[in-house]
């Protein structure tokens, strides 16, 4: 034990779980004072919370819940916005407001699925590569190089063409194009953590590889990945909407925002409301996610943020 200094020992995990939780809190929750410094973060979280809530409560807060499906009301086709139909009606007479609110479920569901799949795959590959180094590292990183050589949307479009179009497939395809970014990010983190004193100490003390990764590498490598995920959410919303707009994502009668814009496009000059409101929904959601990402970034990386 002579080679281990006191600072190394201090950095070691202690069995005192409460103490550890208390000490770790600043990393994940910087407190209300910090939140006041980044108003955009608070606004972004509030908007997303509202959208999530509206999506969850959609069947109870929308005036015509049956319009979220394949309902057809020819007599009510293309009515402009009014007190009965706040956002007007689409070409088959469905209430656009109802469909926009239900659309939150589809879009946020896709974002959640993409982020979880891409982050899990990316973190796994990145940590494995960064932690083990050597040939495994080289092979994994060359594979991510090839994926990153394609603009994400292009790769997604090329893949979507070969699968039957659906919201689920669109989400999996986006995740497939997105994981290399997380692999890159967490690989760099893992490699730098591995060379830190506390990592050496754990290794010297005979901690198993699993324990080293679970207790040291993962907690310390995941903060940048979380920040990146919040920054990426907006991009995923836009990409999913674009795939649907191209007919490569969700299909009618699913109320997906990008698809609704595509369906309204031929009549956009006369029935502006059919494309305007779903588009605004995409825009607001993307803006809110960007607020969150920007706020988190300036909290965790003060050098790059407002200060």
């Amino acid at each position: 034990m002579t080679g281990v200094t006191t600072t190394d020992l201090e950095a070691m995990p202690t069995p005192d779980l409460q103490g550890e939780a208390r000490r770790r809190r600043p990393a994940l929750w910087p407190g209300w004072g910090a939140a006041r410094r980044v108003p955009l973060l608070v606004i972004g979280v509030a908007i997303i919370a509202t959208i999530v809530l509206m999506g969850l409560l959609a069947p109870w807060i929308t005036p015509y819940p049956e319009d979220a499906g394949a309902a057809v009301h020819p007599a009510k086709a293309l009515l402009p916005p009014s007190s009965l139909h706040w956002f007007g009606t689409d070409i088959v007479g469905r209430d656009v407001f109802t469909r926009v609110v239900f659309g939150a479920r589809v879009s946020l569901g896709i974002v959640l699925l993409v982020l979880v799949v891409a982050a899990v795959v990316g973190l796994t590959v990145g940590l494995a590569a960064g932690f083990s180094g050597g040939w495994l590292d080289a092979v994994f990183m060359r594979i991510t190089d090839v994926f990153l050589a394609f603009p994400a949307l292009l790769l997604a479009v090329a893949l979507a063409v070969f699968l039957s179009p659906s919201a689920m497939h669109a989400a999996l395809i986006i995740a497939f194009t997105w994981w290399p970014w997380y692999a890159r990010l967490s690989r760099g983190q893992a490699a730098s953590i591995r060379s830190q004193g506390y990592s050496d100490a754990a290794r010297v003390l005979g901690a198993s590889r699993t324990r080293q990764i679970a207790r040291h590498v993962l907690p310390n490598a995941s903060t940048p990945v979380f920040v990146q995920m919040s920054l990426d959410a907006a991009g995923i919303i836009l990409m999913a909407a674009t795939l649907s707009y191209l007919g490569l994502g969700a299909q009618d009668p699913i109320p997906e925002w990008g698809l609704m814009v595509a369906q309204g496009q031929p009549l956009a000059t006369t029935a502006w409301w059919v494309i305007t409101f779903p588009g605004l929904a995409i825009l607001f959601t993307a803006i809110a996610f960007n607020f969150i990402g920007d706020g988190l970034q300036s909290l965790f990386d003060p050098k790059r943020g407002a200060r």
Partner: protein, 337 residues
């Protein structure tokens, strides 16, 4: 430096090989028999066999891969199903208009985004900063297909200020005929001094350029701001300030130049993003470039054309990344290690 160039170029070549392998794998993932989709549903067994022999589909996977790679290298990228022309000649025709469109859009984006980012960094933490940040976030949050349709409705259908279809009004050919140089009217007209066609083609560019430039403008603003702030906090800038240099020279000479590196690095990324955005913008504005070609190929399930587009965009992107890295290494010697 020579060592860095050699290493970086080798690495790019490796990525190109990977890209070719990945496109081959994707092409083989297609469900169903490619011979059937080419020959049509009513083809006889003999015809199918002929198609298989023609495209080498009766060979082993390995032989197919070898002939695919040698085809890609020799410039034989197959025949498009919807234009019935060779994919490579189609691509040669549609790439120049798209590159011109994207290049102009990126130039406009840099002219708007970088001053916006400099302004935000100048008024760091104050109201102007917040306003600039909001504008930048709005720009990167706009769904491009929606923006393109809105521009079309407002500025063409309602106001009638700008034309929306194609690259120029071909009726002008009667009075001032256009001679092709590189196949892009706005450049050809400029090179041959054809003023009427040049101004008309500029008017045709306005709306698609706005639609494509929105995202990169916001991205340029954000990165310029962040990078400048980082540099303004650096030792050397504080030193210059302490020595009593004017605010203008602190900013212009000592903070801005090193801050440009991340902005240059961003060019490759926004180029790729804009290129794929041009797919949608071109199809909305009927711009006869790579994007319209790609959308048409997707709609007609034209596999050779889709793979050709994928391959050429990836190659362009790898090439641009290489150039950007080398330029960065020239500017900043720290990167060359």
């Amino acid at each position: 430096m020579a060592r860095y160039i050699a290493l970086r170029t080798l690495q790019s070549l490796g990525v190109v090989v990977g890209v070719i392998v990945l496109t081959f794998v994707v092409a083989r993932l297609i469900p169903g028999d490619p011979a059937v989709s080419y020959a049509g549903p009513r083809a006889t067994m003999d015809q199918l066999e002929a198609v298989r022999q023609q495209f080498g589909l009766d060979q082993s996977m390995w032989q197919q891969f070898v002939s695919y790679v040698s085809g890609v290298v020799r410039g034989d990228w197959g025949t498009s199903l919807h234009t019935k022309q060779s994919v490579i000649s189609d691509l040669m025709r549609v790439i120049p208009p798209t590159l011109v469109l994207v290049a102009i859009a990126l130039g406009v984006a840099a002219l708007i985004g970088m001053p916006l980012g400099i302004f935000a960094a100048r008024s760091n933490g104050r109201l102007g900063d917040l306003a600039a940040k909001m504008i930048a976030i709005l720009l990167v949050s706009l769904p491009v297909f929606w923006l393109a349709i809105l521009l079309q409705i407002v500025f063409f259908s309602k106001l009638g200020w700008f034309p929306v279809a194609g690259q120029y009004d071909s009726a002008l050919n009667a009075s001032s005929p256009l001679y092709g140089v590189i196949g892009v009217p706005v450049v050809d007209a400029l090179l041959t001094g054809n003023l009427p066609v040049f101004t008309d083609s500029l008017r045709h560019l306005v709306l698609p350029v706005i639609a494509i430039a929105a995202y990169p403008a916001g991205a340029f603003a954000m990165v310029t701001r962040a990078s400048l702030l980082e540099n303004l906090g650096d030792e050397h800038v504080r030193m210059i300030r302490a020595l009593g240099f004017s605010e203008l020279s602190v900013f212009g000479r000592f903070a801005l130049k090193p801050a440009l590196n991340p902005v240059i690095a961003l060019i490759a990324l926004v180029f790729a993003y804009s290129l794929t955005n041009s797919f949608i913008v071109e199809s909305v504005f009927n711009w006869p470039g790579l994007g319209s070609y790609a959308i048409k190929s997707i709609q007609t399930l034209d596999i050779p054309a889709i793979l050709g587009v994928t391959l050429v965009v990836a190659l362009l992107y790898v090439g641009l990344n290489l150039i950007v890295d080398l330029v960065q290494a020239l500017i900043d010697p720290r990167i060359r290690t």
